[in-house]
């Protein structure tokens, strides 16, 4: 791997982490707020937006990134990279790896944690699935950014006219 492609991979990885974290933050905020509206609490659209932005930009994101997304995607993307070297087709493999990494990473960290549950929204397993979808989207973003696209290569191979 040359330095330019290494840097591209690192930036692609960070972009995938950020996207997965923000996706997960939004999902878990909506689950927490839905649980409150389910018991009759009024939550306006502006309160919902403010709570979502708070979770993205303050407390939740560093926890989710540090304990789950970053290590899970790192392991998954290394495995996916090894697979893609043999098979090609990076996009489905990184999507699959990202999704499975979060799907397994959340329960694993909850199990390892001395707390009964690290992420309250994960009381409902469907929230884990939706947060894992963020991992899949992060994988797609990584593959899209880190691997040269065929169309772009075709253009560069075209003779000058």
């Amino acid at each position: 791997m040359n330095p330019a492609s290494a840097w591209r991979s690192i930036l692609a990885f960070l972009a995938a982490v950020v996207l997965t974290v923000v996706w997960g933050a939004v999902v878990q905020t909506q689950y927490n707020l839905a649980a409150l509206t389910g018991i009759g609490v009024e939550i306006s659209a502006s309160t919902n937006l403010r709570a979502t932005l708070t979770d993205i930009f303050s407390g939740f994101s560093p926890t989710y990134a540090g304990y789950i997304v970053l290590p899970a995607l790192l392991v998954a993307f290394v495995v996916a990279w090894l697979v893609v070297r043999r098979t090609g087709a990076p996009l489905p493999w990184f999507a699959l790896g990202g999704g499975l990494a979060i799907l397994a990473g959340i329960p694993l960290v909850n199990w390892l944690s001395p707390l009964a549950l690290l992420i309250g929204a994960n009381r409902d397993f469907s929230s884990v699935v939706l947060m894992a979808a963020g991992g899949a989207v992060g994988g797609i973003l990584f593959a899209w950014l880190a691997y040269p696209r065929p169309r772009a290569m075709e253009r560069t191979d075209r003779p000058y006219r």
């Binding site: 649980a35 609490v41 309160t47």
Partner: protein
């Protein structure tokens, strides 16, 4: 048994004394706990496996519950080897186990006491109260008088503290079961409530939700997360309770019948992931705490001290703290507002589960460790 623990072990040399004086001079304006120690700590019994509560027997002995399901006797001459026999089967796992021991007010005549504990298994469990007769060695006539409903799964947030009201009714604090926090707002559930029953488990007719459709008639107050202590100030006729918040938002509340204390709709704490549990710290119809702790200290037992041995500490709450491994002294000012807090007994370096005022006016505490201790706090001289 360990010898007396003296607080100022540093002051053994001139140099150490000088450094200590300098530190105190620097820290005194900043920290209310920097006064010279006015107390000494005496270990009365060890090892106790995760002791949970303390009850004083009229003969001078002390009953200590151990969370795995044992009731121990600390006689004036030390810890008895054999636990009390005849205890009910306890679901012991995580936070579940044997909780509180509360003597009947006529215990000296009847030997009747009440135990609270986790009943069931990991899939379906409850907080239960049994009444029993204690003959000095074993429990007899063990009778369940109250069991929370519905059953819940998991081994967290049972509550379990009990206290007598001046009218002879019994208060029990419960928890939300951790995974079921919305149940604290559900009047058809005992989870996340303070409950009031008679000493036979029946419902007092003047409970606030008697006659309310789909409400458990035992409910006295609701919207609690995990009640950890209930203290009745008989002088002022005020009920105080404290409870664990999540990450931050531990609270002391003044408990009034029928009131909603807000969990999980309002909280000064956050989820363990640092996410918002709720966007609200106040909401119409919900009570604000007397005080809250953020970050959490994880309050456990509590006593309102009014004994003769520490006149400077009278009318103060002493709040055992698990996470902070301390006891917080919270003076109650005239009018009931909390004063400047003091952090005490950190030299024990142990999680503190319960603290009570003994009949002799000393403070007694137990430490929440696998080899926990029963410790007495006495004036230094």
């Amino acid at each position: 048994m360990r010898p007396m623990l003296a607080r100022s072990m540093l002051a053994r040399s001139v140099l150490a004394r000088s450094m200590l004086a300098l530190l105190i001079a620097i820290a005194a304006p900043l920290c209310a706990s920097a006064e010279p120690a006015s107390y000494q700590l005496e270990v009365l019994a060890e090892p106790l496996e995760h002791p949970w509560s303390i009850a004083f027997l009229p003969d001078g002995g002390i009953l200590v519950t151990e969370r795995p399901g044992r009731l121990r006797i600390v006689a004036p001459d030390g810890l008895r080897t054999e636990p009390v026999e005849g205890l009910p089967a306890v679901f012991a796992s995580g936070q579940a186990g044997l909780f509180d021991a509360l003597l009947a007010e006529d215990f000296a005549d009847t030997g009747v006491l009440y135990l609270s504990y986790a009943h069931g298994n990991d899939d379906a469990n409850h907080t239960r109260i049994v009444r029993a007769r204690f003959d000095g060695r074993q429990l007899l006539d063990v009778t369940p008088i109250f069991t929370t409903q519905p059953a819940k799964s998991g081994d967290a947030h049972f509550g379990g503290r009990m206290a007598w009201m001046p009218d002879g009714t019994l208060l029990l604090g419960t928890g939300d079961g951790f995974f079921f926090r919305e149940e604290s707002q559900n009047l058809a559930s005992h989870l996340g409530k303070i409950l009031r029953i008679r000493d036979d488990g029946s419902v007092p007719e003047d409970n606030p939700f008697v006659g309310t459709a789909n409400a458990k008639p035992e409910i006295y107050s609701y919207g609690h997360r995990h009640v950890q202590a209930i203290v009745i100030d008989r002088e002022q006729s005020v009920i105080y309770a404290h409870e664990h918040g999540p990450r931050g938002g531990d609270e002391i509340n003044v408990i009034r019948p029928g009131r909603n204390y807000g969990w999980p709709v309002i909280s000064h704490g956050k989820d363990y992931s640092r996410a918002l549990i709720t966007p609200y710290t106040s909401y119409e119809g919900m009570e604000q705490p007397l005080l809250y702790w953020t970050p959490s200290i994880a309050p456990a037992g509590m006593t309102l001290y009014d004994g003769p041995l520490f006149p400077q500490w009278r009318r103060s709450f002493f709040v055992a703290a698990l996470a902070e491994e301390s006891v917080r002294r919270v003076p109650l000012l005239d009018g009931g507002a909390p004063g400047v807090q003091e952090t005490l007994f950190t030299e024990l370096e142990q999680r503190i589960r319960d603290i009570r005022t003994g009949p002799d006016g000393a403070l007694y505490l137990v430490t929440d460790e696998p080899d926990g201790q029963l410790v007495r706090v006495l004036p230094r001289n």
